[in-house]
Subunit: 279 residues, 2 copies
């Protein structure tokens, strides 16, 4: 792994749980990520799934809280969890938790002061896939993407815009229509400017209607999630998939909230979804 510096390494379910860093050409910053390498990857190339995290998260939250390693080991999946934004002293930021560092929203910023470093779309769709393929035994064509909340938005949108790259997609509690809700409107205004035409290219509901996705979309959403009504509005994705004839399994899970306890409960289903499609 010449490009990556290894910050930590632990054995987990017979595989390797790594924390890595590297200089990113997309963001112009040092980026951190975690990578789980299952035992099967020591023998032959295996499928790989990216995990995109939500607001305030780093590469660590999913890695220590989701309990994904057990099933990733069993199914033989590499799982890659990047940080959610560029970071550092020279990088633009905002005091709010939902803008700036920790809140990259998986777009390439085109508005000041975010333009120089906030290039998370290019990072997760171009630079990171190439680096991961170079450093780990990823089976060609077998890449999927999943995420949570802001990262659920990220997973759905980067997959629909790049179906030749990402063959499978799923999301927990995604922001399905960022153009229509406060989190998305605030972030897109800052990163993409006032012209809402540019927003549509990063809005999952718009993309479902415009492009769709070749394989079934899996979404889990807790009905006790405090963000459901104002920010997530899952029903918009249900409607869009119905209208567009998009194959989707969108499940409302009774009693579950927005936390990693929810994610941990259903992560096995998501990993199985990706493994089934990625073959």
């Amino acid at each position: 792994m010449p490009v990556f510096e290894e910050l930590s390494k632990s054995t987990s379910f017979g595989g390797r749980q790594l924390t890595l860093s590297h200089d990113s050409t997309s963001t112009g910053t040092r980026m951190k990520l975690s990578v789980y390498v299952p035992p099967a990857a020591e023998r032959a190339p295996v499928p790989c799934v990216f995990w995109l995290s939500g607001l305030t998260c780093t590469e660590e939250n999913f890695t220590v809280k989701a309990g994904a390693q057990r099933m990733a080991s069993e199914l033989g999946l590499i799982v890659v969890a990047p940080d959610t934004s560029p970071r550092g002293e020279g990088v633009a930021n905002d005091d709010a938790y939902d803008l700036g560092q920790g809140a990259g929203f998986y777009v390439d910023a085109t508005a000041a002061p975010w333009t120089p470093h906030f290039k998370m779309y290019s990072y997760v769709t171009e630079e990171l896939p190439a680096l991961i393929r170079e450093a780990f035994p990823v089976r060609p064509g077998a890449l999927g993407v999943m995420g949570h909340s802001m990262g659920g938005h990220g997973a759905l949108t980067v997959a629909m815009r790049n179906p030749e790259l990402f063959k499978s997609v799923s999301a927990f509690s995604p922001i399905v229509a960022p153009s229509q809700v406060p989190w998305g409107q605030k972030a897109f205004t800052a990163y993409l400017g006032e012209d809402q035409a540019a927003w549509k290219a990063h809005d999952a509901c718009e993309l479902v209607r415009e492009r769709g996705f070749p394989t079934q979309i899996l979404v889990d959403q807790g009905d006790a999630d405090g963000f459901l009504e104002e920010q997530l509005q899952t029903w918009r994705l249900v409607d869009a998939c119905k209208e567009a004839g998009q194959s989707a399994k969108i499940r409302m899970q009774p009693g579950y909230d927005h936390s990693y306890f929810f994610i941990a409960t259903f992560i096995d289903d998501h990993l199985r979804h990706h493994a089934r499609i990625l073959g």
Copy 2:
């Protein structure tokens, strides 16, 4: 749950993951703990297992990192994880990570300045079992204890001293002979004083030779654990069990370190061990 204040509640694997607090008569402080209540406990009393954490931990580490809820839900086990010491401004402390707040060592302190609040032995063997039985549907007589590192020491010693209370015991990376290693010698000198006779009552290897435990002891230890040689010295427990004829399964796990990635890998085995003995 009149005695407990509920600080948070999340649905997890069909059960309830709670964070609670209460005024402790043992420590004279407000104590926090986490409790996982499996779906089966809504229908009938179920067995309960205490988890005792290691140095620097609170009630949160195990709860968010071990991934225990999945198997606890499947087996129908209540899992209780208390904090590792009293805390607060009026509570004695030390700048070191291995003494004072976050490092209670599951003993009742008899030396200044620790005596007034550092009563973790009484807390986990008397007060907490009584409160948990009052607030949750624990099947009578079906209580076990497990822990990690300092908490592995805690689990082994409180179980052997109270076999009528704890019917099953297991540990990850336990400090098996605190009287013989720096962590234990420092803590016991501070909490129990210079007289090493008092230390023996809280030393797992001494207790194995003196009392033993009625059911099999399960221990997992990673051979890549950086604390193995100096602080944990698992071979001392192997020898003590052999000499005393104590039934024990002590496994060296190749490649594993001291982290929660190790715990998460083998927590299912430990929960099954407790469920089998607790019936």
